[in-house]
Symmetry: C2
Subunit: 332 residues, 2 copies
């Protein structure tokens, strides 16, 4: 039975939504065990008795706060995230879900659990909505702000593996995010990455920002600085459109009535672009499984992050990544 | 009287929308003259007689097509964009508007008209909508894919000048686009630019992608690779939301009726985010005035681009940029 370690303390809203999400997941899926890591007494009071046999609690005194430096993480051995990651390292859990300090989670997973063979830089991958009833995967969205061409090449291979093993895309299209579609477009980094990525049969060349949302490409490769800006920009646009519409609807009763009649349209749109439906972002390229969730995760988001971890582990994606990188990495 | 040179041939849809836009502008604004550059006979047939005294035509045999290399531009002395830019260089026009090959326009403006004093890299600036009833300015959105910290510093100063002189913002807030708000966030480029930008009193530090649309910052500084991706990403998100909504509305008659009652909401939203309302993007940092318009510009977009050029010229922003850069550029 799969065991998932959950950092119960790290989220912006304390342990409640995280434990609630874990219980939701246990309720719907009888095939895994949860290990909640954090302050034992605080956690215990939030768990209904009937889940006691499927939840183990590992006590941790310390919590790394969002405003602390990620560099602290390795020294804070009593922190909930340190102990949660440690459970994966020792094999007591197969995966870890954290809504806490993402920098700390990343460093600990990379340094304590370790990288897969042939992976020099793990990447955070995130699913984005498209209007074609499918998702696209963008990586890296924040783990590596300064990249070398070979890192982008690895991201391409890891993204390809994720699309095949987890998104169930038979022949995924891998694109390189650039400022134009032509091969001549790009900055120094992407131009060099382009020549390396060309060796992948799944590589379709440069793609542009709008292609992330039009379903024309399954995997979008970029450095973590650019990827993070893409993520925040798209959140910002969606938020601005929603706010502009709301303000405009309130101007007349007819518009308000119209909006009421369209309630289900807004609801389904919200569902489409709501991060909590997605769960979290896997840190691809480390051993085991690390899912980084939003600090403001709702119980539903935590539940979906746990399911994501289970799928990740069962897909055996790590073996596939190692094998594929072995095949395509230039020898020498 | 201000004279604006317009490349009549370069747009995706040929001379018609460009000439139509020029006539619209002349109709509403009696205080400028237009110089249309392109194939004389083709242009002549599209101009109503009564505008003959306010439109001059400069014949050009050649057109640089969108799929040609920008490096060709300097050799193509008979092309419409070459000749239009040349009119600014010789002082026969104060500004140029081009919906043609943006790379060619950029190189020609930079190399033939020349840069302002203390400007090492001109930047393309674009206005973005926010939900706070104001616009924000993002630069660079494509002129310089590989930047040095001092280039970003110059963009900050030029953006500050644009916000003051043209957007009428008294004390503009200048932000550096990064992957987090904290000073420690950023890639190598932005971290170094941050330390330089700190010397500007208008600098408010790092901003994130979502801040472009929330009205919290007036000028957003980034390299041209990142800026271009931000631009295309936001277009992509807006387009995806609109397509998802349309598909969803069509599912039931009630939703369709609701949408009809909300027609004005959609119309005003469209107006808010429609590029044709904005006109074009100024290439800030070159002498004179160069406005780069979308290849698919409607007559309205061309009209607004011409007005933008007139405002740019009348604001005397170039003198302000030179003076400000003189003050803030580190000596030595």
């Amino acid at each position: 039975m799969v065991r998932i370690a959950v950092d119960a303390m790290g989220g912006d809203f304390g342990p409640y939504p995280i434990i609630e999400g874990t219980i939701l997941a246990l309720k719907e899926n009888p095939n895994f065990k949860a290990i909640l890591v954090g302050h034992k007494e605080k956690i215990q009071t939030l768990i209904p008795h009937k889940y006691n046999n499927r939840i183990e609690i590992v006590h941790a005194e310390d919590v790394i706060r969002m405003d602390e430096a990620a560099t602290e993480a390795l020294k804070r051995k009593e922190s909930s995230i340190y102990k949660a990651v440690e459970l994966v390292r020792t094999g007591e859990a197969e995966g870890v879900v954290s809504a806490g300090h993402s920098g700390a989670t990343m460093s600990l997973a990379t340094l304590r659990i370790g990288r897969l063979k042939n992976v020099s830089r793990p990447a955070i991958a995130t699913l984005m909505p498209t209007y074609k009833n499918k998702k696209s995967l963008v990586l890296d969205v924040g783990a590596n702000v300064d990249c070398k061409p070979e890192h982008l090449f690895e991201f391409g291979v890891m993204g390809e593996a994720y699309a095949t093993a987890i998104m169930n895309v038979d022949k995924p299209k891998v694109g390189l995010l650039s400022n134009g579609e032509e091969e001549t477009k790009g900055n120094e980094l992407t131009k060099n990455a382009f020549t390396m990525l060309k060796s992948l049969p799944t590589f379709i060349g440069n793609v542009e920002g709008n292609n992330i949302f039009d379903g024309s490409v399954d995997v979008i490769v970029c450095d973590g600085f650019t990827g993070n800006i893409v993520l925040k920009t798209s959140e910002g646009v969606a938020d601005a459109i929603s706010k502009l519409m709301k303000a405009n609807i309130k101007k007349t009763p007819i518009r308000m009535a119209g909006a009421l009649m369209m309630k289900k349209v807004f609801r389904s749109l919200k569902k489409e672009i709501d991060y909590s439906e997605y769960g979290g972002a896997p840190l691809i390229g480390v051993k085991g499984c690390t899912i980084i969730s939003h600090g403001k995760s709702t119980p539903k988001a935590i539940k979906n992050a746990i399911y994501q971890a289970i799928t990740y582990i069962k897909s055996d994606i790590n073996t596939k990544i190692e094998k594929r990188l072995e095949e395509v990495t230039p020898k020498g």
